[in-house]
Amino acid sequence: MVSAVFHAPLAASGSEAVASAVTHKAMPSVTPHVEPAKAVTQKSPYDWRGLWLAVLPPVLGFSLLIGIWALVSISTASSIPSPVATFEQAVVIFSDPFYRNGPNDQGLGWNILMSLERVALGFGLAAAVGIPAGFAIGRFEFLSRMFNPLISLLRPVSPLAWLPIGLLVFKGADPAAIWTIFICSIWPMIINTAVGVQRVPQDYMNVARVLNLSEWKIVTKILFPSVLPYMLTGVRLAVGTAWLVIVAAEMLTGGVGIGFWVWDEWNNLNVKNIIIAIFVIGIVGLILEYALIKIATAFTFEEVKS
């Protein structure tokens, strides 16, 4: 999903992807197998087929994953730990996620919180710069023509390539990681906001002209609400990318954080913890995505068809 819009330029194809992301992908894959099950059990407890379809495929999917994992574990003579051993280790870790034994040995909870804090900072700065920039680029064709080549050039660059620049300029690991998050999450927000502004229906602008609305009313009552769904898609893509990037950035910069934790456990050859971290990273990413989708659907309204 991330890559679909990431590779798309500001042109029509990009905005199609954005539009479909707003409408079609509003329902994540998580909900379908939760809600039908509820509905089915409420309506008629004898409709086993619906329940079956709702519960069986996800369970099978997870069983397959764990089965393959177990096979790999056996075939590598447990250098990849078995699911059971990992689970036992997870119980130990989650029983005390917030301990502190010095700067390099802290609980998983602290590591996740530190990573989330970096993401929030970098992402917040990117939103503060990217969303107004997107509005300006979408509103004025001159700016759009001026910045489009720059965005096209810089957007495909791997965020990690910016890390040395960050280290050089900010002379610290932490600001460099935040800088990396900033640079990777700013593009989807600029692009989606700009596309949203360019796609404000002409009908709404005609209404504004006939009612002779002030610039302030146009921005607050027409532009902002109609751009909001696009903007939130940009925000969602940005958070997704930021969460992908923070792990890699922290592996390089060190300190406290989930990425550093993975690297540290690798140096200790504690593979169980690495696998636990993979699951944790996945679940946190899923929660972030799900929360933003919920926000986006709350602000998406039926559009006028012309």
Binding site: N206, V207, R209, V210, L211, N212, K221, F301, E303, V304
Partner: protein
Amino acid sequence: MNPNQTSKFIDIVGVEQTFKTKKGPFCALRDIHLTVAKGEFVALIGHSGCGKSTLLNLIAGLTTPTQGHLLCDNREIAGPGPDRAVVFQNHSLLPWLTCFENVYLGVERVFGAANKTTGATSENKAQLMARTDAALALVGLTPAAQKRPGEISGGMKQRVGIARALAMEPKVLLMDEPFGALDALTRAKLQDELLEIVARTHSTVVMVTHDVDEAVLLSDKIVMMTNGPAATIGEVLSVDLPRPRNRVQLADSPQYLQHRKAVIDFLYTRQVHVEKAA
């Protein structure tokens, strides 16, 4: 008010509209001369692509003519404004505002600020809200005031659009195929309501339509347009049916049928071959 001002409330003189396209200039309208009296209901009718919406947009001020000029109440139409309220074909309500807020947006703009030209002082919030409530009541939508456009039917949306336009107390009400997207029964109901509202408010209305019955039922004057490109006014028919009009009684009135036939004759006998050629 002198008679000239009442009979030529809207005065369109020698208007021509040419659009620049990639294939070169495209002449949509030429040689348009039309006057609309105060309190008159005028229907613009013609085949699609004959420039009737273009003409309406010119009166609204959303576009400016390449030649000629348009006057409204003896003043040149220089741009869009709330004195010429538009009811859009697709209702164009803002989906994130409730029906009340949609209407209030226009009311606030027109009456919420002191008006230098008319000398009116600004009204307070209670007065503005009363105006909005009154407009929604006029179209029978008081119960739906707090609903969003997505929650109401197409006919109700169009009524909100009409309420939004009427609430601004415009000099002219411009309607661009207001009922075109509605089913026949809803359309008939809204036409009846519009007849009643116009009788009560004595509004000056210019309405674009492609429905012959609608044109004859509602208007005092039917402006029939030739086919585009370079469309112009082919014929103007005065509809002198007595008001209040009732669609059931009119259905077998010989006068009504005569008018209806005149319009159909123009549209399907005299203008049809041009369309084939185009």
